[in-house]
Symmetry: C2
């Protein structure tokens, strides 16, 4: 199977569906001209297709290994990572001040989408580094910035996020890792962290750990958490990797998928750390890291779905049962559905990227609220969709899909983690109906109004599709009005289906925009009809579930669940 990066679709979406043009009109992103966008996506796509994608199976077949305390990457990863680093791809969205390209996040999302389709395991390495770069840009001292950012942006060093501990997952505030002040202004970090992605690797000359830890006598919970930079090798006076810090990789996890990505159990034993941001304000910095990562995890789901789709389509064209199976109605249904869902999720993720860029460049609170609203949707829908599409990809292959050599199953195994990490999709949904509705739904209503207005304007050209989208947005608006008057428990009980409904309405909206750009009898017009008529209607069932609230769930006691 030859993976081909979805350059055309990403370009089309940024041109017509969620236009990047207003971003390029800002001073901050003036360099993001159409020519630059074209060059970035084309060159990035080429790298993904020719250099990165060929390493994907190797990552699965020869997983990362821990040898004498050092992680060995799978065959080919070192070279592929070097190509990524040399091209400056890690720092697409990083500040030019320290060597980044300073381009819009929307382009970074597009690149992460393509890179995830090429090799999800490898993509995780720069993804975590990107989160760290953003956290340092916002919260670190000038000294730390000057020392670490150029190396992280160039890919000389890589970054990790150390949040989770055995007893502290979603409840980050329960973490126990300790930070004790040393006399020289540094801190001694001690504790165990788990699920540390790319916690060590031989693609880079140093690994920089951002570690959440607790100062002596810090307040309990999230208010007593501070963030520290804890490098594997302590930089010497010249900024070169020096003596080894007191930390180690204890073991690698044996996982369902992303075998190429080493998931480490880390032990810190009085390791030297430098405070990032203020004492006890670690959560704010963590959210900076995670916000970037959440959107780009959404892009992971989309990228893997794209690769799974391409492979399923190639197989369906090739495989003859009576006729090439792509001609069978049910296979056609599966493939068209996959393509339509990918387009919807990709549009949502890029819309979120554009909103982030507009929020940063203009400081407009509405854009910032739009970005905040779209982030959990982009993450959860992109990854839920990724699992659905990868599973359908297996199904299209029939028996061959269950055979590992085919590669279809790897996509399913790999993408399965994406609904879990960077905050489970349940957490994303609770963020949507909770924090993101603290404005009483204002940001949501603004977006829904925009959808209704657009659908209104599209009625003449697309009487059926426009009416469907308008109606769906209207029902979602009504539901949202009802929801913001409910207590948190009832919101939370319906959070996941509510998010799904929101995403489907958005997907229908963006498909409608695509159809408007290309016309009714275009391929995009037909694909829009597939989405709006066949896949979007599930929003109603999701809203029905969301409206049930919590009571019925708790009517079943734990004993009832066990019976």
């Amino acid at each position: 199977m030859t993976y081909r990066s979805p350059v055309t679709d990403i370009r089309f979406i940024l041109d017509h569906v969620v236009p990047l043009a207003p971003v390029a009109e800002t001073e901050m992103f003036a360099e993001a001209t159409p020519d630059m966008v074209e060059a970035i996506l084309t060159e990035g796509g080429k790298l993904c297709d020719e250099v990165i994608a060929p390493t994907n199976r190797d990552g699965d077949l020869t997983p990362a290994k821990l040898e004498n305390g050092v992680v060995r990457s799978p065959a080919g990863f070192k070279e592929a990572f070097a190509a990524l680093a040399e091209g400056g791809w890690i720092g697409i969205a990083a500040s030019p001040e320290h060597g980044g390209m300073g381009l819009p996040q929307a382009l970074n999302v597009g690149f992460n989408d393509m890179l995830s389709g090429a090799n999800l395991s490898l993509q995780l390495n720069p993804l975590l580094t990107q989160g760290q770069i953003e956290a340092l840009e916002h919260h670190a001292s000038d000294e730390i910035k000057a020392l670490y950012l150029p190396k992280l942006i160039s890919g000389e060093w890589s970054g990790t996020m150390n949040l989770t501990e055995p007893g502290a997952g979603s409840d980050v505030g329960a973490l126990k890792t300790k930070a004790v002040p040393n006399d020289d202004g540094t801190y001694a970090i001690s504790g165990q962290k788990i699920y540390i992605t790319w916690g060590d690797n031989d693609c880079v000359s140093n690994v920089c750990h951002l570690v959440l830890a607790r100062l002596p006598d810090a307040a309990p919970g999230t208010k007593g958490i501070s963030l520290f930079m804890v490098p594997k090798l302590i930089p010497d006076d010249a900024g070169k990797p020096g003596v080894a810090n007191s930390l180690k990789v204890v073991s690698l996890e044996h996982k369902l998928g992303i075998h190429g990505s080493p998931t480490c159990v880390m032990s810190y034993e009085g390791a030297t750390g430098w405070l990032v941001g203020e004492e006890n304000k670690g959560m704010a910095a963590m959210f900076t890291m995670m916000n970037n990562a959440r959107l780009n995890v959404g892009a992971q789901g989309i990228g893997v779905a794209e690769a799974a789709y391409q492979q399923a389509l190639a197989y369906a064209k090739d495989r003859v049962q009576f006729a090439p199976i792509v001609e069978h109605a049910d296979v056609r249904r599966m493939l068209a559905g996959m393509k339509a869902e990918i387009f919807a999720a990709r549009s949502i993720a890029l819309a979120c990227g554009v909103a982030i860029d507009m929020g940063r460049a203009t400081n407009d609170a509405n854009w910032q609220a739009r970005a905040a609203l779209l982030t959990p949707i982009a993450k959860a829908y992109g990854t839920d969709m990724g699992i659905r599409v990868a599973s359908t990809g297996v199904q299209v292959h029939g028996g061959m899909g269950f055979i590992e050599e085919t590669g279809a199953a790897q996509y399913l195994r790999d993408v399965r983690i994406t609904t879990i990490y960077e905050g489970t999709n349940g957490i994303q949904a609770m963020d949507l109906v909770g924090r993101k509705m603290m404005d009483e739904g204002k940001a949501a209503f603004r977006l829904l109004q925009e959808i209704e207005d657009e659908a209104q304007g599209a009625r003449e050209a697309f009487p059926v599709l426009a009416e469907d989208v308008w109606q769906a947005a209207e029902e979602l608006r009504e539901h949202t009005e009802w929801m913001v008057s409910q207590g948190m428990q009832d919101r939370f009980a319906g959070a996941v289906p509510y998010l799904d409904a929101f995403a489907r309405v958005l997907g229908g909206y963006y498909h409608l925009r695509a159809a408007m750009a290309e016309g009714r009898d275009s391929a995009r017009g037909h694909l829009a009809a597939v989405y709006i008529r066949r896949l979007m209607p599930a929003y109603a069932a999701s809203l029905a579930e969301a409206k049930e609230g919590a009571e019925g769930l708790y009517a079943l006691s734990v004993e009832d669940l066990e019976a």
Copy 2:
């Protein structure tokens, strides 16, 4: 995790939801008294819990191996299989004439459900043997019956089904394996077969292959296919395994899941075979095998879902994040949904079993049509649901779910095959809207009428739930009326969502019956509300998709799909 067979739920369903009582009133199944049912399920459950389930992880960790042409089962499988065989469990539904228990298929379905939850890989061994037993009972000569049936039923020997070839999957008629008549009435079988489940094993002293092959000058397609018994070791005059036949296991597949079950590539090189049934009538015998297997593959999905659910619930009670996560609304939603879906699918499968038994015992055409109608629904919904629930099981575990040692991921990997084999779920759905609607929907309408009548009667006790079920059945009836007037291409394009809608309405109906039996404030009443109010409503979206027909799918050309 300690697996506990769902004896209580199966008993309850057979008592109150899809009563076995009418079956026990027939002469054929007079032995299936309540005491016998109790004894069978309790003893079967005990065997599954204590002897079979403890081998499940070993099957995954130490897969079946091919050593010098012989398959070695995983650790513990031989002993577990011996216990199954000794208890007579392989022949629960087999004719007493050759040593079977002659009990209803409904009980066999219940047992297969429990056994699949305990160890899916191992369950496949007797499952295939059961299909072979049924094929021989219906189609083989008395000589073959006398020789093979007692050994298959006792578990001394095991059976396989050899249909698929590299170019002939869903298109069985494309197969190329040859059968050339020998002078002594036997046939020389030559060809390659793939995906042969338990194609060899060391749990038994002989492996009996039922092989589809083509006589010289046979008609092309399915009309030129005959069925042959091709034993691994040719029985001597005393019926003992004698000289080796000219067949071999070429290799084992490397699969996503069911690692404990050897999936063989088989090569027949002029192997001696005996005709089963008439020349060129092999497809009929194959359908006998497959019909049994299809329903019991549905039971596989249900059993694995049960095991995944139990493990997720145990984890959710134990894992504390703020509070035990079972107390979080979204986790509660996931668990309640899993339990409700399992109950729905289990009821459908047992209803199908009861219909098969009634059809056999009474020869009533309505019961037979009911069985035929429910078989593809039981298979497809049981297995689709199995994947959904196993995937949700992973999600409930959070990051732990992605770690292989947890075991949650194994359920997802194992169950993923069930929507593919014994006819993909797409094929099941086409069977439903095609062959099973050749009566212009009569069997479906009879069932829907029954649902509407029951719902009508339940309105007083359950005003909301009964109305929901009535309404859903009514919409399904209207859709079915419309559908039977459509051509096959349009039916096929909507077959999968139509089947899903049908299953959800049935699920709602059976939940309503359960609620009626126990009352509104009972655990089953609450669970019924979860299903009917939260999960059943997706039927409407499925019907909307089904109603779109084929046109919109083909409006997207293959080139459009590639763009």
